[in-house]
């Protein structure tokens, strides 16, 4: 069967059963090493259409960065098929580089000891950006990211937020079709975060740049991404709309009921369970995938109901639950004899 045939025409990033296996040696004794085979990315498949803005989330070590590194051509996949703009990233790294922009939140791609503008001038030449285009893009980015006062400042003297803005501008000078952001808001203050998010939203809507961002900050996702992919232990455990994440997480919603008076916990069988009682108010948890209507009807019929409200689970709780359910390690452990 040909997976490629099922890929939609507009797919810009195609990831088809891609995997990445690392051999990790660990010291276990004076001369003993343990060789562990870690599947950092385990047969992941997804496609991203041109112009989409996708959040890529998961706990530390889940395989987010490894995926980004494969998509940018830094790492070679151990298996599967990968295409970005029709290019195989690991084989044609430099050709792809002209069409993508990458921002690593933790480390800068700018030249540390030199003024910001020097890095941009170098990008101009290195990416062979036509002069007019470069001027236009630089002016626009400097304005949108508020960089004009920083251009002559050596990168090492910039604050984290300023540096991140500088990095984002550097990644966009050559008009990349896709922008990868690895933790773009990590360590930033509230104002800087808001500014970066606003800029990304504009970039996506006005220029149609495809954006793939990994983050720990769920507000990034809530404010920017219509689509979320969740990775855990190297596997894609969710891919869809942000709203749908709740059901996928098999999470529970909460029905808060106010009764006429203080009563023993409400009894509704399997449909819900009381998690808290405070005077006449009771909290009932029920599966997020179930409709609240039959439950409400039953309680209204059997108890003196005054008021009620339904609370959606918050996204952090949902994801925490998803992670918990998949705590089983998928690593094969091979004992390597003797020293390394």
């Amino acid at each position: 069967m040909s997976e490629g045939a099922t890929v939609p025409e507009s797919a810009f990033i195609e990831v088809d059963r891609v995997e990445k296996v690392f051999d990790v040696r660990r010291r276990t004794g004076f001369l003993q090493r343990e060789l562990r085979r870690v599947r950092a990315v385990d047969a992941i498949s997804f496609t991203v259409a041109r112009g989409e803005m996708v959040g890529y989330i998961g706990p530390n070590g889940a395989g987010k960065s490894t995926t980004i590194k494969m998509l940018t051509g830094i790492l070679t996949p151990s298996g599967g098929r990968l295409r970005v703009a029709g290019i195989d990233p690991s084989r044609e790294r430099t050709r792809l580089a002209h069409r993508i922009g990458v921002v690593f939140g933790q480390r800068t791609t700018l030249w540390w000891d030199l003024p910001l503008i020097d890095s941009y001038r170098l990008m101009h030449r290195m990416y062979r950006i036509p002069d007019g285009r470069y001027r236009e893009n630089l002016d626009r980015l400097v304005e949108l990211l508020d960089l004009s006062a920083l251009l002559e400042v050596p990168v090492r003297q910039l604050s984290l937020g300023q540096r991140m803005r500088g990095d984002i501008a550097a990644a966009l000078l050559h008009d990349p079709e896709v922008l990868y952001l690895d933790e773009p808001t990590i360590g930033l203050d509230v104002v800087s975060k808001a500014r970066v998010r606003e800029f990304l939203r504009e970039l996506n809507t006005e220029r149609g740049t495809t954006v793939l961002l990994t983050t720990h900050d769920l507000q990034d996702i809530e404010q920017l991404c219509s689509r979320v992919m969740v990775i855990d232990h190297g596997r894609l455990v969710y891919d869809g709309a942000l709203a749908g994440l709740h059901e996928a997480g098999e999470s529970e919603r909460t029905l808060v009921v106010d009764l006429e008076r203080e009563l023993p916990p409400v009894e509704v069988g399997e449909a819900a369970r009381v998690v808290k009682v405070d005077g006449p108010r009771q909290w009932l948890a029920f599966p997020a995938s179930e409709s609240a209507a039959p439950l409400v009807a039953r309680i209204a019929a059997e108890y003196p109901l005054v008021d009620l409200s339904v609370r959606e689970p918050d996204i952090e709780a949902v994801i925490a639950r998803m992670y918990q359910d998949r705590e089983t390690a998928r690593e094969t452990v091979v004992q390597a004899p003797g020293n390394s």
Partner: protein
């Protein structure tokens, strides 16, 4: 993109990055001049040590001071060329450790060119200047019948010597893909090799001379071709044509270093560390 295209791309990126660093260095002219003067003092010291030795003896290993100065000048200048142009590659290990190598891999230029040009240190011309000065002294002081072939051999030696040392730098950098903390091993071969070649081959044990002739062919930087210029017996009784082998040796060294680099980069890209 073919090999040729890659080379052109690499040189272009190298020129761009190095140019940026040179401009930024020259923005502080006084500081730069002082650093170079200081560098001249530091690099000149090992020649002062040789002068001190010759204040006590007339010959060392059968070589006179101008002859040793000739070897020294060739070694220091070749090394200076390589160190200036590609010495930054020695920091590869720390780039792997702190993860900044990844940022080079997302740029549209060969990684080796970027690594070699990064923080291009123009102050390293100090070694080059100092080596050339000693070579100039040797040129004046030597009692050699300078035939056209001998004269032509000097620049050939410098260029090929520079390439051989550059190959050692690149191979050393490639090794750091595997052992990130092992930059000192590279120093043993680069700085150590340079020091070794400052003295006549007759000083060293046969095993060591064999090693640097057939295994790591540093002897072709100066020992063997200089023996022809100076009319000295060749080390290890090599045939006469060996004096003209440096270009071949240099090409072979670069080829080996190139594959070592590619293998190292491949390892990095498959293991990510």
């Amino acid at each position: 993109m073919g090999e040729g295209g890659r080379l052109v791309e690499g040189l272009r990126a190298y020129r761009l990055i190095a140019g940026m660093w040179i401009r930024s260095t020259l923005a502080y002219r006084v500081s730069f001049v002082l650093t170079v003067v200081g560098g001249l003092l530091v690099t000149g010291l090992d020649f002062v040590a040789i002068l001190l030795m010759f204040s006590q003896v007339d010959v060392l290993g059968g070589y006179t001071l101008p002859e040793v100065a000739f070897l020294y000048g060739l070694s220091a200048t070749s090394f200076g060329l390589a160190d200036l142009s590609i010495g930054s590659a020695g920091r590869l290990g720390s780039r792997v450790r702190d993860g900044t190598l990844d940022t080079l891999l997302v740029r549209p230029a060969p990684v080796l060119a970027q690594v070699a040009a990064d923080r291009f240190a123009l102050r390293r011309v100090a070694r080059l200047i100092q080596g050339t000065l000693v070579l100039g002294y040797a040129w004046v002081a030597l009692d050699v019948d300078w035939t056209p072939v001998k004269v032509a051999l000097v620049p050939v030696m410098l260029v090929c010597g520079g390439l051989i040392f550059a190959a050692v730098f690149v191979a050393g950098a490639a090794f750091q893909f595997v052992a990130q903390d092992a930059s000192e091993v590279q120093a043993a071969f680069t700085y150590g090799g340079q020091t070794l070649l400052q003295y006549p081959p007759t000083v060293f044990g046969t095993e060591l001379v064999r090693g640097v002739t057939f295994v790591l062919p540093l002897a072709f930087v100066n020992w063997v071709p200089a023996a022809y210029v100076l009319g000295r017996p060749y080390p290890l009784g090599l045939p006469e044509w060996a004096a003209f082998a440096p270009p071949l040796v240099a090409v072979a060294c670069c080829a080996v270093a190139g594959s070592a680099w590619r293998a190292g980069l491949r390892t990095y890209r498959s293991t990510g560390s």
